[in-house]
Amino acid sequence: MNQVFVLLRQVQHDIDELGLSLLAFATGIADEVVAVVLWHDDRLECPVARLRGYCHEAWIMRGEGLFHPDALALGAALSGVVPPHPVFLMHHDSLAMDTGPGVSVILDVPFVSNIVSLESDSDRKTRLVKKEYGGQVDAVYEVSQSLGCFITVSGAFQGSVGKVLAQAPRVVEKVVRVVNSRRCWLRNEQADLSGDVDLAKVERLLAVGRGMQEPEQIALAEETALAMAGAVCCSRPVVDAGRLGKARQVGISGTSVSPKIYLACGLSGSFQHMAGLRGAPFIIAVNKNPRAPIFERADIGVVADGAEFLRELISALNDKSAAVSSKQPS
């Protein structure tokens, strides 16, 4: 590819990590990589320093309308400064979901979201793979490089890191005036995650998903969590169904956890949920469906009914004699 724009945002006082890794990939597929950074701090040293080696050119875009921008604002800001048919890459986060589709319409380029792999060929065509049908299908799309594209990239993206660039990027500061936005950011709030337990501090977690969301099964999960001196957490559908509070949701839009043990019951292992697992927990997965995606990531897998398994596990955990013997050197 000739030129690729990578859209990055400011996170706290730094550039978001995932955006940087996207830049690192871009240098491997494009001749010219332009980092477009939405920045609102006054000082530019940080982004300039961070971008060194990652891109040929860095556009620091500033302006009131770019603080929590919507598609109309961002699209207007970009359409003034990019050439026709640009190729944009952006990490598939909540900002990308909010602005990507609309910006692609304003820039009049095709749009493909949440891709997990990207291949350019010499024919000036690019193949993109995204997951569809609950992750059970890889859908392969093709775009023509000459027509540009707006692509959002999944956190599960697998791509090789390109070369580190020798020289520092050319820095261009672009101040943008966005007038009369009909959407106005008010404030950020912490979701009311008040609960009785801080999942981030728990070492042993039992996670339940759609397959274990009935009140009876959750009661069983809580009994098991008690037996293993841990806590129950869950994926989004369980919270949507009102079974557990928001404080128990683990995932992209929930809490991040880093336990030692993660026992996932009746949980398919979708990316949005597993993204909440940090560190390197020992993952034990129990699911009736042998094709559940979670078995890809788990260390130990059991194909069984979650409730039946937990009943056996409770008695195994409560069996004191086994506990003693497990402490003895083997």
């Binding site: 009935e214 169904a241 009102g242 009914d305 039946e308 009943r311």
Partner: protein, 636 residues
């Protein structure tokens, strides 16, 4: 004497008449019901339940006293009429030896009535059974006191009326005792006492007459009618509205019961006829486990509403209505044949239409609509796919007049599908050819109907009926009593259906199927599934199978046959009402009391519920389906 003699009856009758009219007008405002068919069966039912009082003796402690009151009362009716009307000038007692003899019999009747009242009173006051509502105890005592007062005042009047020896009352009757006590008194004294007694009787009688339509005593008037109009067929549910075709019912603005006027006149008659005896509540498993439901309180609240004119809002909570498992223990027990199940279903119909239903039930409905099963599973994954019996699915190459309909639990339940395998094995090894319905995972719609989604039930019914006809089946076999009930009572135009226990029992008799002896010495008990036993009267078939296994130790257990205790049924898979203990846990305790080693059942729902309960109880008792046991013991 004639002033009160005319006055009291006139006023009493007017008041009574007005009350009756009010009660009648509420009946008239009610929804229609179809109860005027099968007169002969109705009369037979009336005879056995109403006149022979067959169910009274199921609770002998109060049943026998009731018989002591009921039969003598019937006998005394002419005597009572004459007694009450004697105050009117010109009305006098009939003459003749026959009447005299009859009057003596009535003295005996009065005595028996009084003894019955005493026994009932003792039962109420000293034994205080839990099924009697404590708050309404004073009323119960009052009624007994009034009845006692009636017979005593009658006896005193009889005894003191005539003092010559030709009118001696029989000794050991109340009247005889009174005569003994007054034998020394002068005639005028006796006459005065007699008059006072008569007046007292008059007042008590007409007073009681006015209490009757305002209290549980109304059953005295409506009870026999209620039995006459009782539902003759077990296991059925009323249509959306009597008198309308299904298409017409679709046009209705609303379905189900939202207000009192939506109850049918038979429902109102049910409310009128409740004698507050509490037997339904005593047998109800929901009451036993502490759910919000009490059948008697449900009917009592209905009675209150009916007496008030039927205009207030219904006092029933959603928790109450969704607690009923439709096991039928209440209906089985009620001496005046009050019906419960179809009221709950009708209430649920309204709630489903208004979107007020447990979330898991709504998910089950959606899954039934989408996939034909309530489990959210794809139809293609249904048993017998993945089992050795997949070649039995009906097709061009596999045909038979006998069709096995597994229903959605056997088709998808991990433990339940073993029953499907056992049935196939059994049928094969006993030489019976059969095929399995191709759409094996489709639900019969039995629970959808009882959870209030009538149209979903109708859709499944129509699909299944067509599929069954397409196979050309002449006999449908099922292992799930809920399916059996659906085919026998909810569907129409199907070939006959039978439960696998009926097939086996018949095969044992006709084809001499033999079993290997069981010398393990293990004690077996049988848990009667609600829909096999109570709703379809099949108690003997499974027992005959067990008896045919030589040497098998078979024991009785508490609450079996028509008093079997519900395991919780399909409802327990979709809704967990607030309760103190699970029904299956309570039932397994009843089983464990017998020190049985094996509990046998004949329903996949019971099988799974009891298996889980046994595990929770930490017991090693074996829970097995009768098909699995029969297969194990089948002689090669």
């Amino acid at each position: 004497m004639w002033v009160p003699g005319i006055f009291i009856p006139i006023i009493g009758t007017i008041l009574f008449g007005r009350l009756l009219l009010r009660r009648w007008s509420v009946l008239r405002k009610a929804a229609p019901d179809k109860r005027f068919d099968q007169l002969r069966s109705r009369l037979r039912h009336l005879w056995s339940l109403g006149f022979l009082q067959q169910r009274q003796t199921h609770y002998p402690g109060t049943g026998i006293p009731h018989l002591c009151i009921f039969f003598p009362f019937l006998l005394s009716l002419p005597h009572l009429a004459v007694l009450v009307l004697q105050g009117i000038p010109g009305v006098s007692e009939p003459q003749g030896r026959a009447w005299v003899f009859y009057s003596h019999l009535c003295d005996v009747a009065a005595t028996v009535i009084f003894l019955g009242c005493l026994a009932a009173l003792a039962y109420r006051v000293w034994l205080r059974p839990t099924r009697f509502n404590a708050a309404r105890q004073p009323l119960g005592v009052l009624i007994l006191a009034i009845v006692s007062g009636l017979v005593w005042s009658d006896a005193i009047f009889r005894a003191t009326r005539f003092t010559d020896v030709t009118h001696l009352c029989w000794p050991f009757t109340l009247a005889g005792v009174v005569q003994l006590l007054f034998s020394g008194a002068a005639q005028p004294v006796q006459a005065t006492v007699g008059s006072v007694a008569w007046l007292l009787h008059e007042l008590l009688f007409f007073g009681f007459l006015c209490i009757v339509p305002c209290s549980k005593q109304f059953h005295e008037i409506t009870g026999l009618a209620n039995i006459f109009y009782a539902r003759l067929e077990q296991g059925t549910i009323k249509p959306l509205r009597h008198g309308l075709t299904e298409q017409q019912a679709e046009e209705l603005n609303e379905v189900g019961i939202r207000r009192f006027a939506d109850f049918t006149w038979k429902h109102v008659l049910d409310f009128y006829s409740c004698a507050d005896c509490g037997r339904c509540t005593d047998q109800c498993p929901a009451v036993a486990v502490g759910r919000a439901l009490s059948p008697r309180e449900f009917t009592y609240a209905g009675q209150r509403l009916a007496f008030e004119g039927g205009d207030s809002a219904l006092p029933y909570s959603s928790e109450e209505i969704w607690s009923c498992t439709t096991c039928g223990a209440c209906e089985q027990e009620c001496p005046v044949a009050i019906e419960y199940i179809e009221k709950f279903v009708d209430l649920r119909r309204a709630m489903v239409e208004d979107g007020e239903l447990p979330a898991a039930v709504s998910r089950a409905f959606e899954s039934l609509e989408q996939h034909g099963n309530p489990w959210g599973r794809a139809a293609s994954a249904a048993w017998p796919r993945g089992s050795a019996h997949v070649n039995k699915i009906a097709s061009a190459s596999a045909q038979s007049p006998v069709l096995f309909f597994p229903d959605s639990f056997i088709a998808f339940g991990d433990r339940a599908r073993a029953v499907g395998d056992a049935v196939c094995e059994l049928l094969t090894r006993t030489g019976k050819s059969f095929v399995i319905l191709p759409q094996s995972g489709r639900d019969s719609g039995h629970e959808a109907r009882r959870f209030g989604e009538e149209f979903l039930f109708m859709k499944l019914r129509d699909l299944n009926t067509q599929a069954i006809h397409d196979t050309g089946a002449q006999l449908i076999v099922t292992a799930d009593p809920h399916t059996l009930n659906a085919f026998r009572h909810d569907y129409a135009g199907l070939p006959p259906s039978a439960h696998i226990t009926e097939i086996l029992a018949e095969a044992i008799v006709s084809r001499g199927i033999e079993f290997k002896p069981d010398h393990s010495g293990k004690l077996h008990v049988f848990h009667d599934p609600c829909y096999l036993g109570r709703h379809n009267g099949i108690y003997e078939a499974p027992r005959s199978i067990l008896r045919s296994i030589p040497g098998l130790k078979f024991g009785q257990m508490r609450k079996q046959c028509d008093r079997s205790f519900c395991c919780g049924g399909p409802l327990s898979f979709f809704h967990q009402p607030k309760e103190n203990v699970r029904m299956a846990d309570m039932r397994i305790q009843q089983v464990l009391e017998t020190h049985a080693d094996v509990v046998v059942t004949a329903c996949p729902w019971c099988l799974v519920n009891l298996t889980e309960a046994a595990k929770s109880a930490g017991s090693s008792i074996e829970v097995i389906d009768i098909t699995e046991l029969a297969l194990r013991q089948l002689r090669d």
